[in-house]
């Protein structure tokens, strides 16, 4: 019986002209998004590799007066693109693509792609994720709003129910009838997606678990909308009401709620900098070069003279000023990392609130899950920034160490001496390699939105049982 209902529903759907239009639009958008995602991933990752190699080359070929000055010259590191960005670009456009690493300062991401494109892109970017999150639910609404309400208007509902059909079977049949046409679109699209992924990278197996979880997440999201559509259709007075209710739900949860949730996050866990009193508050300059720097240098010199049992600074085997640089790097790094941690902790609190509000709007939860699994959410940007920062610190200190162990009095003479070992010093610093965390790490940051999605799923399954059992017959 379930199958018969489903078959009838499928025939209905397949004959519907509106369905044809919806399917064609959706397919075109999906293919376009996939093509664009694939193209930009390939282009960007090639550029990223080239830029990263070029930076290493520039670093090795540097001509600096001494190792610390080389650290000032620094290098830029580029965040690698994940092949799943074909599907969802996440925050890529709104966080920069690179970080400049140098002595004394830990810098922010720079060059947000969104800065350099037309404002129209603020309407949203065409990605597979956008199609799946916004447009597929609309198609589901279109397929479900009349499921029961339409039959009621035609008078067939009473007849069907009089056959002694169990409401659960009826609902299952209807759900199946909606899902099959939907799968006819989604499965080919998913296969194409896998093909695009396979063509674009050799490490398909590494992203396999992520893909499985992504598919599962989106499936749950669609099931939520199918059940919601059926529930509303079962209870609504007529199909017009059902449609308006469902469209209203879509509008509020997919368009309005994300903005409200992000707003609320900023109001509760604000990241706006406090009003500045002096310039020093505001400038992100190193803080260690304060008035007592000279005094501390003197103190350190005295300690060292005693330790090495020599009379003058020139006799010391280590450089006092370089040791001070080493120490100030330590202190500055600590202070700046604290600031970074505070800021990102606030972001993550905001985002957790955003995810929790998914209880009212499943779109918030699926957006977080999708962004997280493709590796382009705040947690992943933080992960990269932290690795880059650690590399920066090691680089700066390694260069400082060279200066500590080669004390000098004559800047120019030292410069000539430095040139002979310069390249060896740079080569002793391993190139920056970013290791993207594995899927378990990503999933660990997504427990909350996953719970929210599961709650929605359970809630909707219970609701559909209740609603269909108490369906309005006339």
């Amino acid at each position: 019986m379930i199958l018969k209902i489903a078959a009838k529903e499928i025939t209905n759907t397949v004959r519907d002209r509106r369905f044809h239009l919806g399917v064609v639009t959706l397919l075109v958008l999906l293919l376009l998004a996939l093509g664009v995602g694939w193209h930009s991933y390939r282009e960007n990752s090639a550029l990223q590799r080239a830029a990263q190699a070029s930076q290493r080359e520039q670093f090795l070929n540097r001509k600096a007066a001494n190792a610390h000055i080389a650290a000032h010259g620094g290098m830029t590191v580029f965040r690698p693109y994940n092949n799943l960005s074909i599907i969802d670009e996440g925050l890529d456009s709104y966080v920069g693509t690179s970080i400049f690493l140098e002595a004394h300062r830990s810098n922010d991401y720079q060059n947000r792609p969104a800065e350099r494109t037309a404002a129209v892109n603020r309407f949203g970017e065409l990605t597979v994720a956008l199609v799946l999150q916004l447009f597929v639910p609309l198609l589901i609404i279109l397929l479900t709003y009349a499921a029961f309400a339409g039959e009621r208007e035609q008078g067939t509902l009473r007849q069907v129910m009089s056959l002694g059909l169990h409401p659960r079977d009826f609902a299952l049949g209807k759900a199946l009838g909606v899902s099959v046409p939907l799968l006819l679109i989604l499965i080919p699209a998913a296969l194409l997606g896998v093909l695009a992924l396979a063509l674009s990278s050799s490490t398909l197996s590494a992203s396999l678990p992520r893909m499985v979880w992504l598919s599962l997440g989106y499936t749950v999201y669609f099931v939520i909308f199918v059940s919601l559509g059926l529930c509303v259709s079962a209870r609504a007075r007529n199909s017009q009401r059902a449609l308006i209710t469902l469209l209203g739900f879509w509008l509020v949860t997919c368009l309005i709620f994300p903005r409200l949730a992000a707003d609320l996050g900023e109001r509760i866990y604000s990241t706006a900098p406090p009003p500045e009193k002096t310039f020093a508050d505001a400038s992100e300059q190193a803080h260690s070069f304060t008035a007592d720097y000279l005094a501390r240098t003197k103190q350190l010199e005295a300690e060292l003279l005693q330790k090495y049992n020599v009379k003058t600074r020139a006799e010391l085997p280590v450089s006092v000023s370089a040791l001070m640089l080493y120490r100030s790097e330590e202190e500055d790094t600590k202070a700046q990392r604290k600031k970074f941690t505070e800021l990102f902790n606030q972001y993550q609190k905001q985002n957790r609130l955003f995810q929790s509000l998914g209880i009212f709007a499943p779109a918030l939860a699926i957006q977080s899950v999708s962004m997280g699994l493709v590796g382009s959410d705040v947690a992943h940007f933080r992960h990269f920034a932290e690795q880059a920062e650690e590399y920066r610190y090691q680089m700066a200190q390694k260069l400082n160490e060279d200066l500590i162990n080669h004390p000098f009095t004559d800047f120019q003479a030292n410069r000539i001496a430095y040139h002979t070992r310069e390249r060896a010093v740079y080569e002793s610093i391993a190139p920056f390699e970013y290791a993207m965390p594995d899927w378990r790490w990503s999933a660990g940051h997504l427990v909350w939105p996953c719970i929210v999605l599961t709650l929605w799923l359970l809630g909707m399954l219970i609701a559909i049982g209740l609603f269909v059992a108490r369906m309005r017959i006339d």
Partner: protein
């Protein structure tokens, strides 16, 4: 046959009475009012905090100026003997650095509460930091090429940038048309379905008049809610805040919003005229909304990026590092040459230190010529021939720093400019494609009028760059002339002031989009009404069944 008025006052009054009793209308208008109020509240808080930032940075700069002026005035009172050998605080390079640490804040946009625009994406303030040797290595952010200039850190959550803001522009672009659709998807279908339409048409009233009065009443209702109310609120608050009210901006804003509203009413009229069921009308209009407000803008953005691709930021960042390293190496080379030349002309006496008083005096008094082999300095003095005459060793060191910064700027500028040009081409393309979707046009007009679009920010950056260049020129000239700065010169003319663009420029920019937003919908509307003017008898009969 009696003459029928096109607009019937009685009809209007009755329509209003019916409309205001409807629950759906009450709820919809209430929600729209709520959304507008929340959006306005958001807009006002943001503008206020920006205004506080402006005031704080002005106060800081004033204090800095006062302090320097006092130092110089005190120094001017003293005789040279009293001052002794200490470095003069009025030397041009010293004063330049003394006045360096300040922040230029973009004042809140003239009608900022109307739209967040791109203001959350671009830094709203730039620091000019004290000159130091590390700065040429510092990376540019968001397309800046001048040394010592650093953007204020952006601390907004990127997720919030992605989702967009709940501002008045969002309400107008997305929610406003939905309200119009909700109010007008069954202008006649429901009356036809319930049979009251036939009754109506038996009166001396044409279908055209009926539809016209229905539309007019509805338009008045949404215009008051979503246009007049926000505009008056902004005007009212503007009267009591510092930067005051920008009347013409509000007028343009209202016109644009009205044009957008008329477009949706015209669309609804057209759909209604197809005489299908009210569900069908609602669905068609909803699909139209989806296409015009979501799909077309997204596709347009994509097309703009494909047709006018912006040079990759990865490439720019990589090249930038190479340019800065190269500039630093050139500067080192110039310094080496200078040092060798100086040592050749004034050989140090045995056991004399490099920083001996005798050599220091020579460094400040003896004029040197620029060596032919020094590309960096030769180029610099070719650009500034007037300074070439009196170049001492110390001034040469100063010139090397200046030349290095100018070199970086000259190399980096074309890269950034190319990216900016592509962005401008994208915007131009978007302007044309506005013919497809009024939402695209409205978005542009709203942020332009509010002053939160990319253009005003570009203006700010350009003006600030210009100011920094002028400032550098001023101090450099004084360094090369060896003329100290006097306390009377420390005046407001040395400060950065942002000049708001004139109305004529804004009008130039918004004329085309505004025309699109007004002419297209109004002509659609006129046509929409015309098709109702003379319904044939058969059509009317069809309608009533």
């Amino acid at each position: 046959m009696m003459k029928m008025e096109f607009l019937n006052k009685n009809l209007l009054r009755w329509q209003w009475r019916i409309l205001r009793r409807e629950r759906v209308v009450q709820i919809a208008v209430g929600l729209l009012l709520l959304a507008c109020s929340y959006a306005l509240f958001n807009g006002f808080t943001e503008a206020n905090s920006q205004q506080r930032d402006v005031l704080a940075s002005q106060a800081f700069q004033n204090a800095l100026f006062d302090k320097t002026r006092q130092t110089l005035a005190a120094y001017e009172q003293k005789t040279p003997a009293e001052e002794g050998a200490r470095a003069a605080p009025n030397a041009a390079a010293t004063v330049r650095d003394e006045l360096a640490n300040f922040k230029a804040v973009l004042p809140p946009a003239p009608a900022a509460p109307l739209a967040v625009g791109q203001s959350d994406l671009y830094p709203q303030a730039y620091y000019y930091r004290k000159f130091n040797d590390d700065s040429p290595a510092q990376a540019t952010v968001d397309g800046r090429s001048l040394s010592n200039v650093f953007p204020q850190k952006l601390t907004a959550n990127p997720l919030r940038l992605l989702t967009g803001r709940f501002d008045l522009a969002f309400v107008l672009l997305y929610i406003f048309p939905l309200l119009i659709i909700a109010l007008s998807f069954n202008l006649i279908a429901a009356e036809a379905e319930s049979g009251t339409l036939a009754l109506f048409l038996s009166q001396p009233v044409t279908l055209g008049t009926l539809v016209m009065s229905k539309t007019l009443i509805r338009f008045a209702l949404v215009a008051v809610t979503a246009i007049l109310f926000p505009a008056l609120s902004v005007a009212f608050v503007g009267l009591f805040t510092r930067h005051g009210l920008s009347f013409w901006r509000l007028v343009i804003w209202s016109l644009a919003a009205a044009g957008y509203g008329i477009f949706w009413f015209a669309l609804a009229l057209y759909i209604n005229n197809r005489r299908k069921s009210s569900v069908h009308n609602a669905l068609t209009l909803a699909v139209g909304w989806l296409g015009i407000v979501i799909i077309l803008p997204v596709i347009t953005g994509l097309a703009a990026q494909i047709i006018f691709p912006v040079p990759s930021s990865l490439m720019i960042a990589d090249k930038e590092r190479a340019i800065r390293t190269e500039a630093q190496e050139k500067a080192t080379h110039s310094t080496d040459l200078l040092r060798t030349n100086f040592a050749a002309r004034f050989p140090p006496q045995p056991d004399e230190k490099a920083a001996s008083p005798r050599l220091n005096t020579l460094r400040n008094s003896e004029y040197l010529s620029v060596p032919e082999t020094d590309d960096l300095l030769s180029d610099y003095f070719r650009r500034h021939p007037e300074w070439k005459q009196h170049v001492t060793y110390s001034r040469m060191i100063f010139a090397i720093q200046q030349a290095r910064d100018e070199y970086i700027e000259a190399q980096l500028f074309p890269l950034l400019e190319a990216a900016e040009k592509q962005r401008a081409r994208q915007e131009a393309f978007v302007n044309v494609s506005g013919l497809l979707s009024p939402a695209i046009v409205l978005q542009k007009v709203l942020s332009d009028v509010a002053g939160t679009g990319a253009t005003r920010h570009q203006n700010f950056v350009r003006q600030f760059d210009e100011y920094v260049r002028r400032r550098n020129q001023f101090f450099a000239a004084r360094v090369f002339q060896g003329q100290p700065i006097t306390s009377t010169e420390i005046s407001d003319s040395l400060k950065f002031v942002f000049h708001e663009e004139g109305m004529s420029k804004l009008l130039q920019r918004v004329t085309w989009p505004l025309l699109l937003l007004l002419l297209l919908p109004v002509s659609l509307m006129v046509w929409g009404i015309r098709i109702y003017r003379k319904p044939s008898l058969t059509e009317t009969r069809n309608l009533t069944h």
